[in-house]
Subunit: 469 residues, 2 copies
Amino acid sequence: MENKLANFTGKIIFIGFGSIAKGVLPLFLRHLPVTPDRIRIVAADPDNEQIASHYGIPYQQISLTEENYRTVLEPLLEKGDFMVNLSVFVSSLALMELCREKGVLYIDTSIEPWEGGYTDTTSSASDRSNYALREAALEFGRKHPGGPTAIVCQGANPGMVSGFLKQALLNVAKDNGMNVKPATREEWALLAQQLNIRAIHVAERDTQTTPVRKKRNEFVNTWSIDGFIGEGLQPAELGWGTHEKHWPDDAGTHSFGCKAAIYLNQPGAATQVRSWTPMEGPYHGFLITHSESISIADYLTVRENGEVVYRPTVHYAYHPSDDAVLSVHELTGKNWQEQPVKRLMRDEIEEGVDELGVLLMGNAKGVYWYGSHLGIDEARKSAPYNNATTLQVAAGVLAGVIWAIRNPELGVIEPDDIDHETMIAVAQPYLGEIIGSYGQWTPLENRNWPFEEDIDPDDPFQFKNIRVN
Amino acid sequence: MENKLANFTGKIIFIGFGSIAKGVLPLFLRHLPVTPDRIRIVAADPDNEQIASHYGIPYQQISLTEENYRTVLEPLLEKGDFMVNLSVFVSSLALMELCREKGVLYIDTSIEPWEGGYTDTTSSASDRSNYALREAALEFGRKHPGGPTAIVCQGANPGMVSGFLKQALLNVAKDNGMNVKPATREEWALLAQQLNIRAIHVAERDTQTTPVRKKRNEFVNTWSIDGFIGEGLQPAELGWGTHEKHWPDDAGTHSFGCKAAIYLNQPGAATQVRSWTPMEGPYHGFLITHSESISIADYLTVRENGEVVYRPTVHYAYHPSDDAVLSVHELTGKNWQEQPVKRLMRDEIEEGVDELGVLLMGNAKGVYWYGSHLGIDEARKSAPYNNATTLQVAAGVLAGVIWAIRNPELGVIEPDDIDHETMIAVAQPYLGEIIGSYGQWTPLENRNWPFEEDIDPDDPFQFKNIRVN
Ligand SMILES: NC(=O)c1ccc[n+]([C@@H]2O[C@H](COP(=O)([O-])OP(=O)(O)OC[C@H]3O[C@@H](n4cnc5c(N)ncnc54)[C@H](O)[C@@H]3O)[C@@H](O)[C@H]2O)c1
Ligand SMILES: NC(=O)c1ccc[n+]([C@@H]2O[C@H](COP(=O)([O-])OP(=O)(O)OC[C@H]3O[C@@H](n4cnc5c(N)ncnc54)[C@H](O)[C@@H]3O)[C@@H](O)[C@H]2O)c1
């Protein structure tokens, strides 16, 4: 029992058994008191039987739809079970409702709509945003306070990065001579404000490569290709900070909800931003919409007399693996007509690191990056069926599941609601090196050459300076 | 003598001995009546001695500058010699002047300034454009009509593509039931107008790859890295057609010269456009400035009573090899701070094709691509020291040299001034398959999804519809 991190007597029901679920399963078997006979898998792939039966886990191959999901899942679910939703194309909200009815714990690494929801142009850009999906999940939580814990968006990012962020704020506070220990959302937000954090990126550089090069008409990625394309075609979204002086021409606001975020009227996969990581230095990454951009901005909002007086700008700046960059370039060049071939790289990866963390901008000490630096070799040593990317996600899922088992009656929660020390402590063995590093980079570095650019020279961390296109 | 294509009794003086010159040399030895003792090489590389001495060619290693070039070169040059300038960082105009004085024939695959000229921000964007470099060369020619032939910009592109263009116009004319044989610039321009050619791309897709992946901080390319970065940092330039209805916000015009082209106030390496080739289908390429964009637009201009009544929009749409795309992405992400390592791929190339041609847009039959489809295996079979890209260029240089030897008193000329049938006939053995292919693609294909875009729906081949960023 020494590795076991929580008491749990129910069943685990996996929905989806793709790159992440395959990576999560070995961690569950190691750290949860479950045996394969108390695990079920429901997923659409025809080719997962083998690995399921290798473990001795019952596997049901079916494509869940709005019409069939209750018929399929109800017989599987008993009070005290845990549903781990790692699928694509299945509505998170539908599953959450079902779990709540059945008294089943729930975790998800995102909040997904039914298939096609991300690009259903009969609904508005606002309606197909992560903002809207998050608001629907939160609304469901508000309607049913307490009850079986349902954690949304708890992987690496969204997920772990919300924990990294808090630790980063504490580290920067300490380096500024402040001795603080925020205990509430309000206190965390005040701390970010005091440290003058103006912008926060989830700054990721994935350098994993394989000797098998991306071919033409092939999308290659280190995690779900359907997932990446799906979120890449959603509107680019960002938490919108109070320091911003330049409203993007193509931005839209939402008429409902927390109002912490805005969206751009273009796909995230067509939106690049300037960012920085300790290993990579300056780079252009994709501003792909992610729930943490919204939840962190919301979490760190300071209000005085009901007025918002502080909020950082928050978004993703994703530099995926080189082959994924080429895949996006090809996809964009073909106006989003998906490549016929999709390849998830794992066992053929030869080298590389997934460098994933948060970049805090605005404090006088410089920009501060804090996160995980996980190499492929270490990932392989740590757990089977993983690459560096999936293991970071799996670690976040494990941390969330432990938190939910230990706190089974929290209702709907987000990563920001999870104690960051517990989150990091559980995940850490699978995150490689955890690094905190200052840099003197700003998005104004080496600008205005060899052409003058339309920048705000007086305020480096304006989104206007960060945005590329 | 059966392979020899022209009579020539002088010396060949190579300036620069990089990827192109190395590829050109074997073709010269095969098709010109020269022996190694009648060849000289002057170049800056320290590591070319070996290959020169393998051939038995005198090699002088020196970096030419504005200060030393006459001292170094004058002793080498005798009337009747041929200077083949395949260097970077050396002023083409300075060499042309010298050659004219000496009665030496001259060829260049571009028109280059002295080192730093492309990014000298003390001069205006207009002054560091290819437009300005071309005007200076043409002005020099006008001042010295006749005299030893000096061909500028005669490689593959610029170069061969001007020949492809004429053949493409003839092919499309024939498919439109027209039986024509234009004999003058004016007649070619009228034909383009009659065929309703609104836009012309030099549409290139290079798929050559090596098993040695691009590393971080490395720029990998199939031809000169210095050359690519140099032109990539010049303003994006395009011949500006009479059908254009939407003036780009960031465009500039020139106050001098032919007025056939405009520039954008941003580097070509940061400017992407939509284009199409038969092999690749739709893609995003870089609008890198090239002399042919200007010279072809100028060549195809129709004037009535001194007024311009017709001109196509002309520009490059370059999809370099995948590793070069990644190299540009990295370079852009670091705001043009050059990678410390540069790697020209040649012998390690495993597979791929350089698909290089012109795309004619506007005729009722559809878009028409015409050009060379040269695979790495065939390139290797055809000539040593080449990849597919350099061989296409070398073929163009060979064609230009043959033309100049046969026509030694033309003064300064451009590829558009060379008889296209001769040009193609000389080059053809080194161009792989020559392909002409129609497509129904337009830059409006699959647009407006999943977001509405600012397009001109009524006029597909507006530059506004073609430009990405
Ligand atoms: N938060 C994070 O850090 C993070 C990181 C990576 C992935 N994710 C998310 O995790 C999820 C899974 O990612 P992945 O890389 O494992 O994806 P994947 O594409 O590898 O696998 C998706 C799985 O969903 C299943 N599926 C598809 N349609 C289904 C349907 N209609 N019914 C049932 N199952 C269906 C597939 O069969 C497959 O098993 C995605 O939502 C992705 O966005 C989150
Ligand atoms: N028209 C076309 O189709 C086409 C295609 C490819 C390249 N080019 C042009 O051809 C030229 C050569 O390209 P490449 O790929 O061979 O380049 P490369 O970088 O491989 O070689 C450049 C050569 O120039 C020499 N050089 C550099 N500085 C010098 C100096 N100061 N004095 C003397 N020599 C100097 C180098 O030593 C080297 O031999 C470039 O101008 C390039 O733009 C044209």
